[in-house]
Symmetry: C2
Subunit: 386 residues, 2 copies
């Protein structure tokens, strides 16, 4: 293990019916709170009304800021920050999935920052204070509800970058499996892929002596896949929804990377894609991961063999990759770029430059990849399916 | 899963050489700090001197309170609290194992409490404030370094009771495997048994739909046993020490009981023993657990079969219990009361009453046991070994 410091102060409020507790938690955010949400799906499931009722019960005034888009944009954060400042809110309530939470984190930490929010994305150490942030999660996927990470897109520069700061942990996050049951099929599947990808990014590491972390990573992957298979059979399967909801949080709350540093190259390669094409992050991941594996596994096979043996009963690299593709295809996720309508191979060099831009000239850690490597991975992701 | 709220604010500082960071962390406890430790083993390994140097570097004044005993006593806590009040300290530094930390927690939360500290042990909700508590852990076992639990003995009443309060979480805990390497063989083995017992107490639950928790519990048990076997081969095995150090923390920092409530009857049955006989907690656990299993497994076999299959490749109840006994005996732990010099069967009814006293008339949750049940378990723990 490598030396580490770990502290996760988020209060997790989990379980069937837990959204009823919102009125008890809301006052922790202040008397006037910016209520941030997405494109209105929370209205369809009645959650919007429940939030208003909770605020009335709690005596908390809400200032609404709807319209956070998937792959949330820094321009939206700018507008939200203006609204928060104008209204004089004391805290932020994010009701939605990872995109809404990620945007809310940047609103919270940039509230009293004098410069542009994008400066924080590029240099998170600029953060010195944050408004308190509460979350009601509607979708199991990103883990943003119990970590300090956020991913923001700059549509002017075609950049999609992750950033993190200790002040970006939510104060509380309410996770109710009843609510995630309303997530539609494709979004549910992309959530499953996303959380599996988070575990995989941590599984591919070079740290020594990590037997507990390795075992927990592999068993979490197994349980996510098992619950994912159940939920695509029956989107109303509350047990499977509940398992996925906890899994998404545990996949990225820091537990699985105690004492190790994961790869995260696949995320960079995917972010370059979804910054330009505005595809769902999970769909991009299920396309990029097999291609990344085909490129990396022959060069560094040991951890791949172990993973595939545990998950699919094979140590053969190509057989393992195909088994993962098969599992994701059976869930309904794409595994090639052309399934997402991306066929313009001439743009691969541009995308590859984007993927390696933040780190300098490479991305990834377990597999350190240059722009040329990333281009080769995009080409592998464009292959025909046999 | 059952509905739950989870928040663990302790900052974990983990890894080889991490004790060097003490001078950076000490000022968080204040300018004048009560330095609590045990019987002086920290002097032998040079840790005492390192603490003094760190305090000098940090400009923090230490007020020493040595002599915390294993199975720490409320009378000792009373004296420490007097000393803390007299000296006007602003925080507590605990350097030691679970006993030192548990005592320090009660000192911290009772500092401004007007009544006797034992009242808090009996009714933890009396706590309204606490001094900040920092920890340097010397021994992998109890998990007290990253939870809000404490166990205190009242020698006047032969009681040994656990209590917990959210204000009892350490502010920070420094875990350096180099330091745990000095733990002697028997203490090391009892630590291994203790952390396995913590996982088992959580494994034996009645909650539905807990596939992730179950998988993580079982794999943690496997990894603790594997590292335990290595460390008794070579007490200097730094990798095994490091694994056990993280395992002890993860075994009882709340992760494994998200959404479920464990049994904890074996702990109550053992606490009655070690309150009266002053035996090491881990040695008591390795004696009580097989007896508890022999009593409970035939009545409620399903989770036992699954456990034994995963750990020892058998679904036979008696074969599984014997395999666990064999594993613990090979580590060097006792599995019968007479191995601890306890042969007075006439005291079993008295002990059994102690075991069920706190909860009312029963102990345990997965297996609800009356005093008569507990007596029968003590008798099973007194059986000859074939």
């Amino acid at each position: 293990m490598e030396r580490f410091v770990y502290r996760n102060p988020t209060e997790l409020v989990f379980g069937r019916g837990s959204v009823d507790l919102l009125s008890e938690y809301l006052p922790r955010l202040g008397r006037k709170v910016l209520f941030v949400y997405g494109k209105g799906s929370i209205r369809k499931i009645g959650l919007y009304d429940r939030v208003l009722v909770a605020a009335r019960t709690a005596g908390v005034e809400l200032v609404e800021f709807p319209g956070i888009e998937p792959n949330p944009r820094v321009s939206t954060v700018r507008r939200a920050r203006e609204e928060a400042r104008r209204a004089g809110v004391e805290g932020i309530l994010a009701v939605g999935g990872g995109s809404v939470i990620d945007a809310a984190k940047l609103i919270a930490v940039s509230h009293s920052y004098p410069g542009d929010p994008w400066e924080i994305v590029r240099e998170p150490l600029r953060v010195t204070s944050a408004l308190p942030l509460g979350v009601v999660l509607t979708h199991a996927a990103t883990g943003s509800e119990m970590n300090a990470n956020s991913v923001i897109t700059n549509e002017e520069t075609d950049e999609k970058l992750g950033w993190a700061h200790p002040l970006a942990y939510p104060l509380f996050s309410i996770l109710d499996p009843h609510i995630t049951r309303s997530a539609p099929r494709d979004q549910t599947v992309y959530g499953v892929v996303d959380m599996m990808a988070h575990v995989l990014e941590q599984y591919f590491h070079d740290a020594r002596n990590t037997p507990i972390q390795d075992a927990w990573q592999v068993s979490l992957l197994k349980e996510i896949l098992a619950a994912g298979r159940k939920v695509v059979e029956n989107l109303d399967d509350l047990d499977a929804r509940e398992t996925l909801l906890l899994a998404g949080t545990l996949a990225l709350n820091g537990t699985l990377s105690l004492g190790l540093r994961g790869d995260w190259g696949v995320h960079a390669i995917e972010h370059a894609l979804s910054a330009v094409y505005d595809i769902p992050h999970g769909a991009g991941l299920s396309v990029v991961y097999p291609a990344w594996m085909r490129y990396v596994a022959p060069r560094k096979p040991e951890r791949f063999r172990r993973l595939f043996l545990e998950l699919f009963g094979t140590e053969d690299l190509e057989a393992g990759i195909r088994a993962l593709e098969k599992a994701w295809r059976e869930l309904g996720a794409p595994v090639r770029l052309w399934q997402l309508g991306i066929a313009d191979e001439a743009r691969f060099p541009y995308l590859a430059q984007k993927a390696v831009a933040k780190e300098g000239a490479t991305t990834g850690r377990f597999a350190v990849l240059t722009a040329e490597d990333v281009e080769a991975i995009y080409r592998l992701a464009a292959m025909p399916l046999e």
